[in-house]
Symmetry: C2
Subunit: 331 residues, 2 copies
Amino acid sequence: MTSIRDVAKLAGVSPATVSRVMNNTANVDSVKRQRVEQAIKETGFKPNEVARSLYKKSSRIIGVIVPNIENPFFNELAGAIEEECDKKGYRLTLCNSNNDLEKEKRNMNLLSRMNADGIILMTNQKEIKEEVRKCQIPVIMLDRQVGTGSEIAYIQSDHYMGGRMAMEHLLDCGCRNIVQMSGPNRFSSARQRFQGYTDVCREREVTAVTLECEYDYEDGLKKAEELIERYPDTDGIIAANDMVAISVYKVLTKKGYRIPQDIQLIGFDNINLSRLFTPEITTIEQPIAQMGQEAVKVLTDYIEGREIRRQNVFPVRLIPRETTVEKPANK
Amino acid sequence: MTSIRDVAKLAGVSPATVSRVMNNTANVDSVKRQRVEQAIKETGFKPNEVARSLYKKSSRIIGVIVPNIENPFFNELAGAIEEECDKKGYRLTLCNSNNDLEKEKRNMNLLSRMNADGIILMTNQKEIKEEVRKCQIPVIMLDRQVGTGSEIAYIQSDHYMGGRMAMEHLLDCGCRNIVQMSGPNRFSSARQRFQGYTDVCREREVTAVTLECEYDYEDGLKKAEELIERYPDTDGIIAANDMVAISVYKVLTKKGYRIPQDIQLIGFDNINLSRLFTPEITTIEQPIAQMGQEAVKVLTDYIEGREIRRQNVFPVRLIPRETTVEKPANK
DNA sequence: CTGAAAGCGCTTACAG
DNA sequence: CTGAAAGCGCTTACAG
């Protein structure tokens, strides 16, 4: 491994000068500059980032902690984050917390000990609040919020409106026996959507029927079975998210129900897959790409000492597709 | 940020002793040890990983470069890798190359400058060979191979057999007009599967019909349209992978074909989604979890100076499901 | 067992 | 414009 000293020796200058040439951090006599550039080329010298980062106390690394590395929603989010980081000259270290509080803490710890410049956290556990406070580097929350959000900045979509819109849409489609598969109550997103859903129930004077379900397809399969057994005359289902909608579709189809003729179905997220699935799934869109982008923007503003908005809520949107059918009469 | 000096001062010992206590790297008088432990607790001291890694020239970080961060196959692979890294006490930095050679090189560069201990590379471009040779840290290939594999160690599944099995299965299902959607020719996986497919064609004396298709659903949609237009009497399709199978299903269904009655369909990979899809997709399974695990095992053996096997090929397996129907007569 | 010293490979005041 | 020096925060020979 060739170091800055080797380059300096070869070029007949001091390491300081090599550094200045590399980083363009001061004027350097053009003859020496050329000698240095030549020496760099000859030796194939690549500056050691670790040494630089030790001195600078910054690594230009952003840590991203996702609850589940195999969940398409988080992958699409991570994709958007990665793209934006790249544009801004940051690197990304992706950590998987597996929905495990201990692992989340461990990851935050490691990240800050690695001189990461900031962390984008997608979590659920309110116990993390303490950890975030103790963390010496900027942390923001994405997709979920902890507490009121007045302390830790967050980016998320308008889950409350999403909950409302999903329910209103099914009502507009003529459904009378609607079951909401709520996300886990420990997630703010699920609580907010649930709130939206029940508010509509109250306004429209229909009884709220809910079944809690994890945001993944395994549990979706299980809860769909349970749902149809407990509520056999269901004619509309609000799935916890698109993956769960896919599970529901599978279970119902197996049991001989037709969608949307017998039971209408709406998801949440608008992951790419929801459009690719057959039939295409009606869903509530979260602006995933924008949210990821904004997360990086807010975090880098934070890192670089600029003012940031603490509460960033993005509007959601109904994407009517093939698993629901709007009644013209109801319009 | 409290440093090792602060702890040392508080405990009334030298920084060296603190280091020895933390790392359990030498015997320390038990009274001093206790004082140090106490001081660490009081100050909440967390050792700086960057400093440690500068001295040790190792960060216990493994870099993983995936061609597409949003592709479920790579995500499942990354999930398996992450789990195994975690067990072995390594951390993982996930990089997205976006199928871009320049970005791949840049990522390899950054990783080695960050003192990463090794790299798991999922790439395609043979031009990367040069870069791997120049890279000062261990690199292995996963899912794909470059060159003959005698130079760069690789882990992959038996694509050739997979190509054979897919074709043999469709023939056993009674298909007569089979089209193979081959993956991009620049990928070793695609070339090997194609070879398996054509070998079966030759043996069974049927004409090979192929259409090249990227490994993603966007192109799958496009190529499925093209396929059915060019070969309207197709009765069996070997999709490039499961995502493409999903695209094909969508396009054919839209056009009124029934699967498997009119056209049978087989995918590749056995990503989770293939089972969750309705109908469940017949596919060739790659042992994703095992491959990810083995990649970490081989890489860490390499890093830690143990002997490694350069060619690691995992067997594939036919998973018959609902998009194909085996003819009993043909058995 | 333990401390002072040197060193990992950079960067940046500081002097000149 | 440029070099010698100090320092980023650790770890580990080296001496004692």
